[in-house]
């Protein structure tokens, strides 16, 4: 194994293991857990290797099958994609620990099917962050979508309906993206991002270019559930099987935001987006502002923990989209840092929700009373995750919010600054409402509650994630200086 194609091993491990999980899982369920954890553990280590190599020796591009781009498909391994690889593999690994017992409980008899789709989804996400080819991106986007459709539809009750809704919306998004790529292809004759970026400025085709940009972006916004295109997300994510939600909720929207960043800067370039079209740029910040405020208000109306979290995810999408479109390096660093932090925060909260669901069953607010006595460790970790979402130092969420707000001030977009602060306050209300419910009990109920924690395999990753939130918070200086500054596109 040489290190020059280590990133391919990161991708191949879950993809190949998926086959074995399906085959061996039929024979015996006991093969599933070691295979899944082994593959993802390997991927995590390998992706760390990729990251350290990139930081050490700089970005490199990899040509699949040795066909030089733009003829063949190019993979780009730069600090940003390496960081995303680490994020995806580690989040997936942590989520799997908790997903295993949940799936055994909810999907008895279908574990091998579930985890095959699950691993392919992870492989798809890894492929997405590495690819440098616009069409390849579409194929991978559809892989992640189809696996997600399947995973969500495995849920109970209304889940298939939510999944169908997601299929329709997701297909519109994918089709729009494909249309945009088609326009770019007709315009330039190329599919390689770097190649397109090189040809585009030499062409006069402003209308087609703008249309392509518009459709690619709208397509991705549907996939990332940017308000007001978010309609499919709350049902899909809250009704999905718990094990699927654990993986999908932290990663899908974040990876799509990464894709937006990639497409924006690798194909169209900052100059075209921000300098030539300042109106679009500030319009986008306003849209993000509206997204943050509306999604936060919608979250207030929810009476179920998971549904509330899904609306928070939508609000956080607004954070990052706004940060990217602020068009300064502070805002962009904040957005990238927030991709990492938000993935971990969401993971932490969903892990806690899974642990609660495992013991309590329902996640409606009324059923959470007295939880601090019953599941103190789970709730402690939940509290850390909640603090991070609110943005209380020294948890990670504070620091990404710091950069985002600072970027907003720098760019003079005060509406965005206000929206971020507003959303922090709403998050504080949302989470302290839950904390209060879980801390207090029904009037007059003074029976000594039994401690009944979730199994260790669910607690372990939860505690680890909560600790990571604090460690990343305290280490955000080196993280930004050492990785994210390097990950910014050229010109920032």
């Amino acid at each position: 194994m040489t290190t020059s194609n280590l990133h391919m091993y990161v991708l191949a491990a879950p993809l190949l293991t998926a086959l074995f999980v399906n085959m061996l899982g039929r024979v015996s369920r006991s093969y599933v857990a070691p295979l899944v954890l082994g593959a993802l553990g390997f991927s995590t280590l390998a992706s760390l290797g990729v990251l350290s190599r990139v930081l050490d020796q700089g970005s490199y591009s990899y040509t699949v099958g040795n066909w030089a781009p733009p003829m063949g498909i190019e993979l780009i391994i730069d600090p940003l994609s390496a960081l995303m690889l680490v994020l995806i593999s580690s989040v997936a690994l942590l989520a799997s620990f908790s997903a295993l017992p949940m799936v055994a409980k909810e999907q008895a008899g279908k574990e091998h099917l579930f985890f095959t789709l699950y691993l392919i989804l992870i492989a798809g996400l890894m492929g997405l962050v590495m690819t440098g080819d616009a069409f390849n991106l579409y194929v991978l986007l559809e892989i992640t979508s189809i696996t997600t459709y399947g995973l969500i539809a495995m849920g109970k009750g209304r889940a298939p309906l939510a999944s169908f809704n997601y299929i329709i919306m997701g297909s519109i998004g994918a089709c729009f993206y494909l249309l945009g790529v088609g326009y770019l292809y007709i315009l330039t004759g190329s599919l390689n991002m770097a190649d397109i970026a090189q040809i585009l400025p030499q062409l006069g085709g402003d209308a087609a270019m703008a249309t392509a940009l518009c459709f690619i972006l709208v397509g991705l916004w549907i996939k990332m559930a940017l308000f007001p295109l978010h309609g499919w997300l709350p049902n899909a994510y809250s009704l999905a099987p718990t094990g699927a939600g654990l993986l999908v909720a932290p990663l899908m929207t974040k990876v799509t935001i990464y894709l937006m960043v990639r497409v924006m800067f690798s194909i169209f370039g900052a100059d075209y987006l921000f300098v030539q079209n300042p109106l679009v740029q500030s319009g986008m910040v306003w849209l993000a502002t509206a997204a943050i405020i509306c999604a936060s208000c919608l979250a207030l109306a929810q009476r179920n923990l998971k549904r509330m979290l899904t609306y928070i995810i939508i609000a956080e999408v607004g954070y990052m989209v706004g940060g990217v479109w602020l068009a300064n390096s502070t805002g962009l660093s904040g957005a990238i840092l927030h991709i990492v932090n938000d993935a971990l925060m969401t993971l932490c909260l969903f892990l806690a929700a899974a642990a609660i669901a495992y013991r309590v069953g329902s996640l409606d607010f009324d059923n959470l009373q007295g939880l601090y006595k019953r599941m103190p460790i789970t709730m402690a970790a939940f509290t850390v995750g909640a603090f991070s979402m609110i943005g209380i130092p020294p948890t990670a969420g504070f620091f990404s919010k710091w950069y985002l707000i600072l970027g907003g001030i720098e760019a003079g977009h005060w509406e965005y600054v206000v929206a971020l602060l507003f959303s922090s306050l709403i998050n504080a209300i949302l989470f302290f409402r839950i904390i209060a419910i879980a801390y207090f009990r029904k009037e007059g109920d003074h029976a000594r509650l039994q401690r009944e924690e979730a199994p260790l395999i669910m607690q372990g990753p939860l505690i680890l994630t909560a600790a990571t939130l604090i460690v990343i918070g305290l280490g955000s200086g080196p993280l930004v200086r050492g990785i994210i500054k390097l990950a910014l596109p050229v010109g920032f």
Partner: protein
């Protein structure tokens, strides 16, 4: 609702048509799409891959990575259908 859908459709269509303004005419042999990559494939593919069918050459070789994922898509879809339709034992 239907009116909204109609408006959305018309707007989308109008933008798409507006975008086609810059496109080369149908069948133009000098269109960018017809000269940039395509010429490379047509001229070199046979020599490089020894496959007379250019579509196969590109599909199986130059863009084999895509094709690998294409098969994965089918595999996923099959699995998803099975897992959605099979009732769980619990």
């Amino acid at each position: 609702m239907k009116a909204l859908a109609l408006v959305a459709t018309l707007v989308t269509g109008a933008i798409l048509l507006y975008g086609t303004m810059d496109f080369p005419a149908f069948g133009d042999p000098n269109a960018p799409a017809a000269v940039h990559l395509s010429n490379n494939y047509i001229e070199q593919a046979v020599a490089e891959t020894h496959v007379p069918n250019l579509v196969t050459a590109v599909l199986g070789d130059y863009r084999g990575y895509d094709t690998m994922f294409e098969t994965v898509v089918i595999y996923c879809a099959g699995l998803a259908v099975v897992s959605v339709l099979r009732r769980s034992k619990s």
